[in-house]
């Protein structure tokens, strides 16, 4: 059995009308992702990568680079205009974009987890922190109240949210704690694959460090594969074994994170690394 969990090929997303010149007139060499002929935006084009069990893959780039678009498609928040993705779930392979909407929602609810930069996207602020986690457990057909309570409490404890706050509404929580609840919720179904989209952006440095530690611990304990999207080289350096660098919708460089940081090939990556030092 291969250790592969995800295989992405030719993934593309173009917003708007498409014309035959969209691809040739956008990208890093044109310094834009907007087609000058028809005005379409090439959010992502021809993204390819493989992800292995327990691995953390980083995607770094500035806003508009296509890093979040890529993750959104893989989490079914958006549909690609071209390309494919295969999810290897145990012995079963799923051609992700060939699944119907119900199958996609089921995969997303039970096999994937997502942590958004904005906790309002990932959490329901009308219900308690525990209720948020319960919702995911209920989606995967757990119907035992005491077990749901125990599991939710354990998950919150694991992400260092006090059990005493379990029945409180997350809107009363600090930003760092809201992210911890999001992570607990994402982990509720023990998914083999987790997406993290700028999860530490906007948090205090000390809170950032604690969240990043937590993510690493989870990876070690549970062997969860993750895709970490960020514009912060520090996050990549700490978390990701391998990294894709994206700009204007294209992957301009990819490889082992250490290698990219030591010996960046693309001029953009060189600037990025230089500015971070």
């Amino acid at each position: 059995m291969s250790n592969k969990i995800l295989s992405v090929r030719g993934l593309s997303r173009i917003h708007g009308e498409q014309c035959p010149l969209c691809i040739s007139s956008t990208g890093p060499e044109h310094d834009t992702n907007m087609c000058s002929h028809c005005g379409s935006v090439v959010a992502a084009h021809d993204v390819n990568f493989d992800l292995y069990r327990g691995e953390i893959l980083g995607i770094i780039g500035e806003s508009g680079s296509g890093k979040s678009s890529t993750v959104k498609m893989l989490y079914f928040d958006d549909m690609p205009t071209a390309g494919s993705a295969t999810f290897y779930d145990g012995d079963v392979q799923h051609d992700m974009f060939a699944l119907n909407a119900a199958q996609q929602r089921s995969m997303r609810n039970k096999r994937f987890g997502m942590v958004y930069q904005n906790p309002h996207l990932g959490l329901n602020f009308q219900i308690s922190a525990g209720g948020n986690i319960a919702e995911r457990l209920l989606m995967s057909d757990l119907r035992h109240y005491v077990e749901i309570r125990t599991r939710a409490g354990d998950l919150l404890a694991r992400t260092e949210v006090s059990r005493a706050r379990m029945d409180q509404n997350p809107k009363t929580f600090s930003g760092g704690m809201q992210q911890r609840v999001q992570i607990a919720k994402a982990l509720a179904t023990q998914p083999p694959l987790l997406f993290l989209d700028e999860v530490t952006t906007g948090l205090d440095l000390s809170v950032q460090a604690a969240i990043l530690d937590l993510i690493l611990e989870i990876q070690h304990e549970l062997g969860t594969a993750m895709i970490v999207v960020t514009h912060d080289l520090g996050v990549i350096r700490l978390l990701a074994g391998r990294t894709l660098v994206m700009k204007h919708g294209r992957v301009i460089e990819s490889g082992l994170t250490d290698q990219i940081l030591e010996d960046p090939q693309h001029a953009y990556t060189q600037r990025l690394v230089a500015s971070a030092l």
């Binding site: 525990g130 209720g131 119907r143």
Partner: protein, 298 residues
């Protein structure tokens, strides 16, 4: 219209069953679909009836589409044959369906239209129960958009409804849904069983009688076919509980009229401010009283 125009008065006569035959046939087709997909809310072109939306127009369209001259009809509201709305509906059916018999006796009826109650007496395979429905969709409390609710029903995704129950238990140590208790039919669709008390929900389960539910304003028909699984939505370790009619000492309160301790009770406050109880199902209560007096005579 010119001032000398006269309304043709003979036009006001109504055909059997009020609705035109095409409309009744369409409703019957929807009923068949609803029975074929237990618990599924079948949309239909609900007609305007001569009583208010919300007064049982959905149930009435079912009744009028099904009723024939051989039928015997019972109409109840709040368990009583004589409450204003029941009287009103029964009179309307009698007016527009000449030849149809009406009864107050549950066992005599072939068709029973009811609002908010299922009769205490067990129904049979020969009977159809029509329930009037104000809100057909149990998901409306967690999702206002009908289009999105339709997808959730299709995928049997009731997690948000269950989260509401979870939050209830967390906050109150109790599920606070008092009536209209979400009930899962045949393992898939969760229905709003109409505003019957929780007391009546277990009687939907494996009911020998066909149960049809009609929402006139919301334009939906759904069904619990005979001998179908109907389970209130609960957690595995928290039991579904019906209304509790025990007094402070834990004694079951009896009906003040017939003495029954096994029926759903109405609570009454008399002029002196005392609380008393009597059966909500008036026919059941009267029959109990007759049985008692017959026994006394004997």
């Amino acid at each position: 219209m010119n001032a000398h125009y006269e309304l043709p008065l003979e036009d006001a006569g109504y055909s059997f069953g009020f609705l035109d035959e095409y409309a009744k046939k369409e409703v019957r087709r929807c009923i068949l679909k609803a029975i074929s997909i237990p618990g599924y809310q079948t949309p239909y072109a609900s007609r305007e009836m001569p009583m208010g939306r919300g007064f049982g127009t959905g149930g009435l369209q079912l009744t009028l589409s099904l009723i024939g001259e051989d039928d015997t009809l019972k109409v109840i509201d709040q368990g009583s044959d004589d409450s204003v709305n029941a009287v009103n509906l029964r009179q309307f059916v009698q007016l527009t369906c000449p030849g149809v018999d009406v009864t107050e006796k549950t066992q005599e009826a072939t068709l029973i239209q009811s609002r908010h109650r299922i009769p205490e007496k067990m129904l049979t395979e020969e009977q159809i129960l029509v329930l009037q429905v104000p809100y057909p969709d149990a998901l409306v409390v967690v999702e206002p958009s009908e289009a999105r609710r339709k997808v959730m029903h299709g995928e049997a995704d009731y997690s948000r409804l269950l989260v509401k129950l979870y939050e209830d238990v967390v906050r109150f140590d109790e599920i606070t849904i008092s009536h209209r208790y979400p009930t899962r039919i045949n393992g898939h669709y969760v229905i709003d069983p109409s505003p019957i008390p929780r007391w009546d929900v277990p009687r939907l389960h494996q009911s020998p009688a066909l149960v049809l539910l009609g929402a006139g304003r919301e334009k939906k028909i759904y069904a619990v076919p005979p001998y179908t699984v109907a389970e209130p939505l609960v957690f595995d370790d928290i039991a579904f509980r019906v209304e509790d009619f025990r007094d402070a000492n834990g004694q079951r309160i009896a009906c003040r009229c017939c003495g029954s301790t096994v029926s759903f009770l109405d609570e009454l406050i008399d002029d002196a401010g005392n609380i008393t109880h009597q059966c909500s199902d008036s026919t059941y209560c009267e029959e109990q009283q007759e049985t008692i007096s017959a026994r006394k005579r004997a």
